[in-house]
Amino acid sequence: MSNVFIAFQANEESRPIVDSILADNPAAEAVYSPGLVKIDAPNRLVVNRETIEEEIGRDFDLQELHINLVTLSGHIDEDDDQLTLSWDH
């Protein structure tokens, strides 16, 4: 099984997003380096709009992720509620 990852600029906008991802993906781990936070997860990682909205207390459009996104790996599936990274087919 391979890892997938997603990385963001380490800033205040990303912090609640990172927290939400870690809450929704118990197997995920965040690794910090200067300016950057990278989240690794075995095979699959899910970003939920609802969790982020609860965390930040306002509406959130998942495409806002693009502003602080640095890099990612795996196949992407995105709709209005969820962004999934995985090596599944």
């Binding site: 200067p34 950057l36 693009h66 502003i67 602080n68 990612l72 196949h75 992407i76 709709d79 090596w87």
Partner: protein, 519 residues
């Protein structure tokens, strides 16, 4: 009066379809093949362009919105950096040389990519691919512009940045990135996508932007880390496009598989050779280090690339032919590249140096199997000679590889004590290569690569002197004439950091504080 009901917007998936489908038309009074002359000759068969899907489902309206937001953030930082003399806050002035290499060798590639995607987008008959190429073309133009705007603040204070475009077209080592991209741009649109979107962006670009930009942050360069990560947020879209386009092409027709495999073999190796410059930036040019080239290679190439090729195996795609040699090279290439620039620093408009004692220790620790044995003694010797007033500058011209255009400095895989040489005959002439993989690229397309503009050959043919130069006059100094043609300011742009104006100035601006440099 009725309460106004907010009309529900289209969801992501229907919006994507509405904005990327049905925008094209079949031509009537001209033949489609005449209007799209490049989409068939490479042999790639596409049966249903409608299967093309951008997984992010980004549409032009959302694109402008988020790009605008990114720009506002970035330019606020650039302004703040300039207003607050951010250039004085970098770890030490050696760091700025990494930026010189960036503006000389990387930024012009962004502009090439802008042109390349505009061209590819024009020549695909599928609308989804055209929209994606259009966005990427605009992204790449933005990257070139934001890099120039950011680094222009440094250009006010430091040497080696003032002629980047002039140098890109002339200076010997810049033919390495230039020829890489011109090779991609002169392929067909499908090869271009495989080369740039997949092999470079998806497999290799993390190595350039992620650890290096983290390094910029670590070295106090707020402006560069911001443009770097701002560009990288676009890159994550480009990478996604890269993997999608490969899957799309492979799923369209089984006959596409061997064509794509050969392109992956070729472009992985071309990209890997190009990244020798990045390896050296990471191990030698960041005064404060985040991770070694070897660690970055293991994290982003071996583990991530491994997962990718395991996944692509179901299409019948195997890892690129050069994969094992590239992994073997992780212990060596940064040292070999830095040694080369140290040698030829009289002809390069940035500064080099020997690592100081603490940096030598770091390199020994990060490269326990190779640094002490093969590379440290060279740098110690160079440092000793410099202290004795005999800084070594190599004034002879090296033999170049016909494909990657890098001097023949790489080792024979498995034998670090030997230089790797390969050669072949074509049409009565002999051609030289740095590796089996560069040689194979040549033998697959000799008609293309016999035309390579090799800087060393051009100098020997007399094509790199200022107009009107007479090389037959007594006392003619060819190196001086070449530097004059390059428009390098001798004594300011080139030579060792220890003796540089940059170093002297930086020390004065910072109240005479001495940095830890060697010798």
């Amino acid at each position: 009066m009725d309460t106004a009901v907010k009309k529900k917007k289209l969801g992501l998936k229907p919006r994507y379809r509405a904005m990327t489908r049905g925008l094209d038309w079949q031509t009537s009074y001209q033949d489609m093949d005449k209007i799209f002359p490049y989409d068939k000759y490479e042999g790639i068969k596409i049966h249903d362009w409608d299967k093309w899907e951008d997984p992010f489902r980004l549409t032009m309206d959302a694109y402008w919105k988020y790009q605008g937001e990114k720009e506002k953030k970035l330019y606020a930082v650039i302004d703040a950096f300039a207003q607050n003399n951010g250039q004085l806050g970098v770890a030490d002035a050696r760091y700025v040389n990494a930026l010189k290499l960036f503006i000389q060798g990387v930024s012009p590639l962004e502009y090439c990519a802008h042109r390349g995607f505009a061209h590819a987008g024009r020549h695909f008959t599928g609308v989804g691919a055209r929209v994606a190429s259009q966005m990427q073309s605009i992204d790449e133009l933005r990257h070139y512009q934001t890099q120039v705007h950011t680094i222009s603040n440094y250009n006010k204070y430091f040497n080696g940045m003032h002629k980047n475009i002039h140098w890109f077209d002339r200076v010997w080592y810049l033919s390495v990135p230039k020829s890489f991209f011109e090779d991609a741009m002169t392929g067909g649109p499908f090869e271009f996508l495989t080369a740039v979107s997949f092999s470079f962006e998806y497999v290799l670009t993390n190595l350039l932007f992620v650890p290096f930009m983290s390094g910029a942050a670590h070295n106090g360069d707020m402006a560069t880390v911001t443009f770097g990560f701002s560009a990288q947020s676009d890159e994550s879209r480009h990478m996604t496009l890269g993997i999608e386009c490969i899957k799309f092409i492979l799923e369209q027709d089984p006959a596409n598989v061997p064509i794509v495999q050969r392109w992956i073999d070729k472009w992985f190796w071309r990209g890997y050779r190009l990244l020798s410059l990045v390896a050296m930036m990471q191990d030698y040019m960041l005064p404060k280090r985040v991770m070694s080239w070897k660690e970055a290679w293991e994290m982003y190439a071996e583990s991530n690339g491994g997962a990718l090729f395991k996944d692509l195996a179901r299409y019948g795609i195997r890892p690129p032919k050069g994969w094992e040699d590239a992994c073997e090279g992780k212990d060596h290439i940064s040292h070999q590249a830095w040694n080369t620039f140290y040698n030829y620093n009289a002809a390069a408009p940035f500064h080099t140096w020997t690592p100081n004692a603490e940096e030598m220790d770091w390199l020994s620790e990060k490269y326990p199997d190779t640094f002490d044995q093969y590379y440290k003694p060279r740098f110690e010797y160079f440092g000793k000679k410099h202290k004795e007033g005999e800084r070594f500058y190599n004034t002879t011209l090296p033999m170049l590889c016909q494909i990657c255009q890098i001097p023949m400095v790489f080792h024979e895989p498995g034998d670090p004590g030997a230089i790797c040489y390969r050669e072949t005959d074509h049409d009565g002439d002999k051609y030289h290569f740095c590796s089996d993989h560069c040689k194979e690229i040549f033998t697959n397309e000799p008609e293309k690569y016999v035309q390579s503009w090799l800087p060393v050959h051009q100098i020997y043919q007399g094509n790199c002197f200022p107009e009107g130069t007479d090389p037959t006059v007594e006392g003619f100094d060819p190196l001086a004439a070449v530097l004059d043609y390059y428009e390098i300011e001798v004594g300011r742009d080139n030579f060792d950091f220890a003796d540089s104006e940059d170093r002297k100035n930086f020390r004065e601006w910072n109240g005479g504080v001495e940095e830890e440099v060697s010798p």
